[in-house]
């Protein structure tokens, strides 16, 4: 009897706990404000979906944060940790993403984070902060329709300029950068179409066979870290023609065309075909399949890769003053018919990424101060350094004759070079101290009231005037005197600016998300296989496999959602421009 009773009891306990644990407790900790002592040195966990560095922020930026706020930033970067959304999911399941949160918001993520009690209501914290006063419209717009009501997130890239002005200042999202020295050695060949680029790349690879450190050069090198709905390395070639992704759709900047990516005559498959041909010619770095962003960045620094589509890769890593003086560096070449995609300014902020305070933090007050500071002109100059701002006044730049100019150190270190930083500024290497948050608080092309010029240093009059290195002069001579990539593209009427809007992709049903996840992996895997296919037949058969598989999985249902989103986005762009124009009147 007793035994039975005991075993029964055990059974009951087991079942009960199983059931009870299922209903996890609802209670969210009361937004405690800040019980951490104000003067205590703290380590802040920053959950940052944009960061490409994981660990404690070191170097000069680490020192600024320590001096100003007596804290250090421990950056948690899903991009580095890998596994897509895994880190977000596990951390949010635990109910604590971090103290400071920089996150994507689309597909209902922002609303869900609020609903799940992961974010702190900042209404009281920001009450008398400048950031709220200066950017009230943008912040309110971001935080409408939330339950419970409050201010939970501040959008990025807030701007005062027109939505039709490129937010990228001098370099659009993508442009066909080539190593100008190699392009010159090939005799500046004209390119009528994308395919014409291949023989040019081949010549470049032949006339520049070795990198600075003597390694074999390749025209193209890819990496897989950022692949999501599609392969980023291929999508970029579609962006050269004014398209950008929204789900499985490539939407043209002006809203005139929406393409589904698996269509055989679309730009995405076209880009895969281009890369496939390039690989057949031996132009693609075979390590593309295994390397990550960091390894690729080092290759760019070493001059091992001869073309680049992102200004923040090739040009940013290789165009140092020394290289430019030696007539070496990345410059955009013109391919007939291109019209690179560029993001317009976000009058109401770019709500696709936000900064927020975690609900479980003990340091809310101090974090609010930190946020307030990064949205101030000085904060923008420093935090925005990773995206082209100047950095610290006195170290990298100073005001001379009423104009902002680089110091000698700034010349050497900016934008992202391995130059030792003086001990009193934090020591270490400049490159290692660059703000790893990778978050743009304000639009980089907006005017810095402290210097009356844009934050973006490459737009400073003192910097534009300096574009007189042999590399610049040679490039300008060939391109009718344009000083920047955007000027150059505008002069050819070849720039597609997509008006900046506060449009966010709405939440979708989980059926669609599941299907999307399955289709994504088929598309990304098959894209890689197609590029490295043995021959045309294999390329075609993998393409067919991709099309058939996603179709069989139910791709059409996902596409319907994406097409609707693409159209809504196009509409919101028209509206944003109208709104701005009305306000300007």
């Amino acid at each position: 009897m007793k035994k039975k009773a005991l075993s029964l009891l055990l059974c009951i306990v087991m079942t009960a706990s199983t059931v009870l644990i299922g209903c996890s407790n609802e209670k969210t900790s009361a937004s405690a404000g800040g019980n951490g002592k104000d003067d205590e040195f703290i380590t802040v966990d920053v959950f940052d979906t944009l960061a490409n560095y994981q660990g404690i922020q070191s170097g000069w930026f680490g020192k600024i944060v320590k001096d100003k706020f007596n804290m250090e930033l421990n950056i948690i970067a899903p991009n580095v940790a890998g596994g897509g959304d895994t880190l977000f999911q596990t951390r949010s399941a635990a109910g604590n993403l971090g103290d400071l949160i920089i996150s994507k918001t689309e597909s209902g993520r922002f609303e869900n984070m609020v609903k799940a009690g992961l974010l702190m209501d900042m209404t009281d914290l920001l009450k008398d902060k400048a950031v709220l006063k200066d950017y009230k419209d943008a912040i309110e717009n971001m935080n409408t329709n939330l339950k419970p009501v409050g201010i939970y997130g501040i959008p990025s890239e807030i701007s005062n300029r027109s939505p039709n002005v490129s937010t990228e200042g001098v370099d659009p999202l993508v442009a066909p950068y080539v190593r100008w020295d190699a392009y010159k050695a090939a005799g500046y060949p004209a390119m009528e179409s994308l395919e014409d680029w291949i023989p040019v790349m081949k010549q470049m690879q032949e006339n520049t066979p070795k990198s600075d450190s003597g390694k074999k050069t390749y025209a193209i090198s890819l990496f897989k870290d950022w692949d999501d709905s599609m392969m980023v390395g291929a999508k970029n070639y579609a962006s050269l023609y004014g398209y950008n992704e929204i789900g499985f759709v490539l939407a043209k900047a002006d809203g005139s065309d929406n393409q589904e990516i698996t269509s055989s005559d679309g730009y995405y498959v076209g880009a895969l075909e281009f890369l496939f041909h390039a690989n057949q010619e031996g132009l693609i770095d075979p390590e593309s399949t295994t390397q990550n962003y960091d390894i690729l960045s080092d290759k760019y620094r070493d001059g091992q890769i001869l073309t680049s589509l992102w200004s923040f890769q090739g040009p940013s890593y290789y165009n140092t003053v020394e290289h430019k003086n030696a007539l070496k560096g990345f410059m955009p070449a013109y391919i007939k018919g291109i019209s690179p995609y560029s993001f317009g300014c976000y009058t109401k902020g770019n709500g696709k990424t936000i900064i927020a305070i975690g609900s479980q933090t003990k340091y809310a007050k101090r974090l609010a101060e930190f946020i307030d500071w990064i949205y101030s002109p000085e904060g923008m100059e420093i935090v925005g350094q990773a995206n082209g701002a100047a950095g610290m006044e006195g170290l990298t730049w100073e005001i001379k004759d009423g104009k902002a100019v680089f110091t000698e150190f700034g010349e050497k270190a900016l934008p992202n070079n391995n130059v030792p930083v003086p001990e009193e500024w934090g020591g270490g290497s400049w490159k290692d101290g660059v703000p790893a948050l990778n978050f743009k608080t304000l639009s980089i092309v907006d005017i810095d009231p402290r210097i009356n010029e844009p934050y973006l240093t490459t737009m400073w009059s003192s910097e534009l005037a300096k574009r007189t290195t042999p590399l610049d002069l040679d490039w300008q001579e060939k391109n009718g005197g344009a000083k920047t990539t955007i000027e150059f593209l505008e002069s050819k009427n070849a720039l597609s600016v997509a008006a900046g809007t506060s449009y966010l992709q709405p939440e979708e049903s989980s059926d669609i998300t599941t299907l999307r996840g399955q289709c994504k992996s088929v598309i990304v895997d098959d894209s890689w296989k197609m590029i490295f296919a043995k021959d045309e037949t294999e390329f075609k058969s993998i393409l067919k496999h991709m099309q058939d598989t996603v179709k069989g999985l139910g791709y059409e249902k996902v596409l319907e959602v994406d097409m609707k989103n693409a159209n809504d986005q196009a509409d919101s762009r028209i509206k944003a421009v109208e709104e701005y124009n009305n306000k300007a009147k």
Partner: protein, 310 residues
């Protein structure tokens, strides 16, 4: 029970209670690690969206189980995954004879220090994690790795061979890595069993004129068979559980189709594809199939050997 029980019975209760307390820690442990995690199965019946709590999500019943068989492509995908799982498990079973051979031959080595050296060196890989194994594989077999560079320098090949990012012979490759990692470790059990064989058997056989190979074939091998069968049966029960770490570290866009075993598929769907509910449903099905397999093996074992293994 009545009050008027004899002293003997109460003594027995006392003793059984004491025994119960002895095993209580183990009951608690097995509850914590084997039964308690099962409450996670509840996620398979909800439309779970990660930042939200389960109580904020909708209850959807059997929807995710139906999704698994929603269309032909889906079924084909699961079929491919099952094929990979079974193929690799089967290859694993086939190669489970290698440790026996290895143990028998190792046992014949008379030089003691050499024997223990070989044994240590072959058992060592078992303790290296798959992540490290992959990094070794990576530096050996990438395009710029040791093997390719060597072959190119010797003029045997002109373009690097894609060892890692190719779909060819992926089952064999994975099995080879497995054998390399597990051979020495697997042999330890057999070496212990060999040590337990009655030496009189060998002496008698020698008197009868048996040579070394005869001894191995007629005495050592048959004596190892019971151990082998127990291990084999246990591996049948683990048919679907071929682990995911090995395949996870080796997977890439190029070999995914054939390397994706069930555990890895669950991970890819759930963690990478952000469908935790669906992944839970798949792993639930897996547990059920494993249970059925184990029961079948157990019945077979009862029928053929007269004793059950559980």
């Amino acid at each position: 029970m009545k009050e008027s029980v004899s002293g003997k019975a109460s003594k027995r209760t006392l003793q059984s209670r004491r025994l119960f307390y002895c095993i209580l820690p183990f009951i608690i442990l097995s509850f914590l690690f084997s039964y308690f995690p099962l409450h996670g199965w509840i996620y398979a019946f909800y439309d779970y969206k990660p930042p939200l709590k389960l109580s904020q999500c909708d209850f959807v019943g059997w929807k995710w189980f139906e999704t698994l068989f929603a269309n032909k492509t889906q079924v084909a995908q699961i079929f491919q995954v099952m094929k990979n799982t079974l193929a690799m498990s089967l290859l694993g079973m086939l190669t489970s004879v290698f440790p026996i051979g290895f143990a028998i031959f190792l046992n014949e080595i008379k030089c003691k220090w050499f024997k223990s050296l070989v044994q240590t060196l072959t058992a060592l890989p078992n303790f290296i994690s798959w992540v490290l194994v992959y990094s070794v594989a990576f530096s050996l077999f990438t395009d710029g790795g040791l093997v390719n560079t060597l072959l190119q320098n010797m003029g045997l090949i002109t373009t690097p061979i894609k060892f890692l990012d190719s779909d060819a012979h992926i089952y064999s490759w994975m099995t080879l890595w497995n054998v390399w990692k597990g051979l020495g470790w697997g042999a330890i059990l057999y070496l212990a069993a060999i040590a337990g064989i009655d030496s009189e058997l060998y002496e008698a056989a020698r008197v009868d004129g048996a040579n070394r190979f005869c001894l191995m074939k007629e005495i050592t091998l048959p004596s190892l068979m019971p151990t082998f069968f127990v291990l084999l049966m246990m591996s049948v029960a683990n048919f679907l559980n071929n682990g995911m770490d090995q395949y996870f570290v080796f997977q890439n866009s190029f070999n995914k189709e054939h390397i994706q075993v069930l555990d890895l598929y669950v991970y890819n769907v759930g963690m990478t594809g952000s469908s935790l509910s669906l992944a839970t449903a798949i792993s639930m099905l897996k547990s059920i199939i494993s249970l059925i397999l184990l029961t079948i093996v157990n019945i077979l074992s009862k029928k053929t050997r007269g004793e059950s293994i559980i």
